[in-house]
């Protein structure tokens, strides 16, 4: 039985390599053009412009670039307590959300994949929150968290537990936002894992059970290793998505209480749009870009290494 397994996966891999290399490169260029043009126009262009702005004292309410500031904006940001604390809030949020969003998505995908009846219902149930817009999610959860009236407080009350002031207590506000975010965005990772699970050939499990492996051993020795690539993808996407947090905090806590949940992007927003200091806000954005780049590269390297080991 075991010898039969490789034959099924092999042809699937080959399908993607059928395109011959000597086809006209011009055709490829044409195919890529729509994407490249939009990418240059809306991503590369503004990024370079932002880099340029960060070297000037540009104001939102004055035309032109304003006076040249050199690295002054960067110095100001690096010396600012508000910059460092909001950067930490973003990292803290990433730390709170990334592990549960990977582990829970995996667990739920596994369960939904194994369920026999009404499989579509479970898939929909986990994915549904993801399609709700952030503002709606925020409003639902504000009501759930509301002290005195909220459903969560009432629910905990039945068990004799006194609920904290979820969004009003500086210590609880960030975990509360993390819980909301996990509920909201779990579905995306869930779907990626579900797709990954369906790519694992059933013969492997059959062979393993013939060899006497229990369900837990099968998960550990077959499912998790074969989902390695999916996990890499999910992890990298998740870290970047969490670092980019803005909406939930802006709507649910407005960065409060007392700035306890102001993310770095809100700091950029506050400085750029409320204080009109576009030059300074661009410098902060650039610094944040560097942070995302460094975190992503390190994270990617770690996960890839583990994948090779496994």
């Amino acid at each position: 039985m075991t010898t039969a397994t490789p034959t099924r996966t092999a042809p699937v891999r080959n399908v993607s390599r059928t395109g011959s290399p000597d086809e006209s490169p011009r055709a490829a260029a044409w195919m890529l053009a729509p994407f490249v043009i939009l990418y240059v126009l809306f991503i590369i262009g503004p990024a370079i412009y932002g880099l340029l702005l960060s070297l000037f004292d540009t104001s939102l309410v004055r035309g032109g670039l304003g006076s040249f500031a050199g690295l002054g904006n960067y110095q100001e940001a690096l010396a600012s307590n508000d910059f460092w604390s909001s950067l930490w809030h973003t990292l803290w949020f990433t730390i709170l959300t990334t592990p549960p969003l990977i582990v829970l998505a995996f667990v739920f995908a596994l369960l939904a994949d194994r369920v026999g009846r009404a499989r579509w219902f479970f898939r929909l149930a986990f994915f549904a929150p993801f399609v709700i817009p952030s503002a709606v999610v925020a409003l639902i959860w504000i009501w759930l968290y509301t002290p005195g009236l909220g459903l969560i407080e009432a629910g905990l009350g039945w068990f004799g537990i006194t609920a904290p002031n979820w969004l009003g207590d500086p210590a609880w506000a960030m975990p509360s936002l993390a819980i909301t975010t996990i509920w909201w965005t779990l579905g995306f990772n869930f779907v990626l894992y579900l797709a990954g699970l369906q790519d694992i050939p059933h013969e492997l499990y059959e062979a393993a059970s013939v060899d006497g492996a229990g369900p837990w051993q099968q998960i550990r020795s077959i499912t998790i290793p074969l989902l390695g690539r999916t996990t890499t993808l999910v992890a990298v996407l998740q870290v970047i998505a969490s670092l980019k947090v803005f909406d939930q905090m802006y709507i649910m806590t407005a960065g409060g209480p007392n700035f306890a949940t102001r993310s770095i992007l809100q700091y950029v927003y506050d400085e750029g749009f409320t204080n009109f200091r576009v030059g300074y806000a661009s410098a902060v954005s650039t610094l944040f870009f560097v942070v995302i780049l460094v975190v992503s590269v390190i994270w990617f390297a770690i996960v890839r290494k583990q994948e090779k080991v496994a």
Binding site: S59, V61, L149, G168, P257
Partner: protein, 450 residues
């Protein structure tokens, strides 16, 4: 950080709003601007002959009344195609207004808060108004309440015409206050000292069995700031000087007010955990005797059909002649126009005059009218509870001048966060004051970007 906060629109309000929008669209089509009001306001070719672009930031009940007033203008000036655009209030509004004006596509008339209008003036984005021209248009200085008029001048020059004053006020539940022995006929017991104020709240708490009064502090920075600023100004305190370049807290006075505010939540007369919606709901449910909030919430409680009334924010520290209360004003401005077309300008002034002439509609939403012909009339005096707090307009204290100050500004976020944390019991008054000094100091030292 909000003034009229973003919140879920009730179904009825939504339907009314939708009907209003449909009306707008129809009016646009009738006057030959088939592209619909919103699109016309945002499109490049909006400079049509005989059209007028107007931007405002009014949602909720204010939005519905503003649509009524726009319709009033359309009736009086059927030849002018009015394109009214409503944008979300707060920073996005001022950002859009600034960028549209910089990009040479400004509206002909726009609403701006008095405290934010000054930043726009400093950036050179607002047309100066000539007294002679205003006289001709029937809007001379003497026709406006003096406090908002004076507060709106920049170096003695006119840039904005005030529509109203919107002060921080005190809502009270008549049944609760009667039960608590605080109401003698229609007169509320005086709260003219910190002791009397605290006592009134504790009597109200006994009467409701829940809380005495409500101050929104969670996810809300404007309300704590308005409460603090009202009491602190009654003591004669100032926060900023030299157009925001110096932070000039009177530490003793600030600490006194902060300690008073914290004592309210420590004694559990005021919950330290309410957000804006929660404070409204608690008061509407009859679980509180008092609510401290802007007068614009009047419509909420009228709709709830509850036994409430409104009066000026109590004179806790001011004594006989030191009454003060935090407020701002909605003003109408003409953003800097790329083409100095006298006909457009005349039309813009006619529109502003028409808005002022409809001050009665506007005052129903709670705002104190600035237009003297109406503010001085019996029609306004007989309007209750709106006229109960008309005096607040004369005692209005506007947010201190500074490029980072004004309604919905970073200034309000910084001070409101610290003050809110004091009420919530998360910061001691001294630590909060230190934090305000530090954070405002950073802003005060930053070169003005306008």
């Amino acid at each position: 950080m909000r003034n009229e906060p973003i919140r879920p629109v009730g179904r009825r309000a939504f339907l009314r709003g939708a009907a209003g929008l449909a009306g707008l669209g129809a009016a646009g089509a009738l006057s030959g601007c088939g592209s619909g009001s919103t699109l016309a306001g945002l499109s490049v070719s909006h400079r049509q002959e005989g059209s007028l672009d107007y931007w405002n930031l009014f949602g909720g009940g204010d939005g519905v009344r503003m649509v009524d007033m726009e319709d009033g203008f359309r009736k009086s000036f059927p030849n002018v195609g009015l394109n009214a655009v409503t944008l979300a209030w707060g920073n996005p509004y001022y950002t859009k207004l600034s960028l549209a004006t910089l990009g040479q596509k400004p509206p002909d008339v726009a609403v701006a808060h008095l405290t934010r209008m000054k930043t726009l003036v400093a950036a050179g984005l607002v047309e100066e108004l000539d007294p002679a021209e205003l006289e001709t248009a029937g809007m001379s200085a003497d026709k406006f309440s003096s406090r908002p008029w004076q507060a709106g001048l920049v170096d003695g020059k006119i840039y904005a015409l005030p529509l109203d004053t919107h002060p921080f006020v005190m809502f009270y539940n008549k049944d609760v206050c009667k039960k608590a022995g605080l109401l003698d006929g229609d007169t509320l017991a005086p709260m003219d000292s910190p002791e009397a104020f605290t006592e009134a709240l504790s009597k109200a708490k006994k009467a409701t069995g829940a809380v005495g009064g409500c101050i929104a502090v969670t996810n809300e920075t404007a309300t704590p700031w308005r409460f603090f600023q009202s009491a602190y100004s009654q003591l004669g305190g100032k926060v900023l000087a030299d157009e925001g370049k110096r932070v000039v807290f009177d530490d003793d006075k600030a600490l006194e007010v902060l300690a008073m505010m914290q004592s309210l939540s420590k004694k559990q007369l005021v919950p330290g955990s309410l957000d804006y919606e929660g404070s409204i709901a608690t008061f509407a449910n009859g679980d509180a005797g008092f609510l401290f909030q802007g007068e614009w919430e009047i419509a909420t409680f009228q709709t709830a059909k509850m036994p409430f009334s409104m009066t000026t924010f109590p004179n806790i520290y001011g004594g006989a002649d030191g009454y003060a209360v935090q407020a701002d004003s909605h003003t109408l401005i003409i953003p800097k126009q790329p083409d100095n077309d006298p006909a457009r300008r005349r039309s813009a002034l006619e529109f502003i005059k028409s808005m002022l002439d409809q001050s009665k509609t506007w005052a129903e939403g709670g705002h104190v009218p600035a237009w003297q012909p109406f503010a001085d009339s019996d029609a306004y005096r007989s309007m209750t509870p709106q006229s109960n707090y008309a005096a607040a307009a004369d005692a209005a204290v506007y947010d201190p001048e500074g490029w980072y100050s004004g309604s919905g500004s970073n200034f309000e976020i910084v001070v409101g966060s610290s003050i809110g944390a004091v009420v919530a019991g998360q910061l001691e008054p001294k630590a909060a004051l230190r934090q305000m000094h530090t954070k405002l100091g950073v802003l005060a030292r930053t070169a003005q970007p306008t």
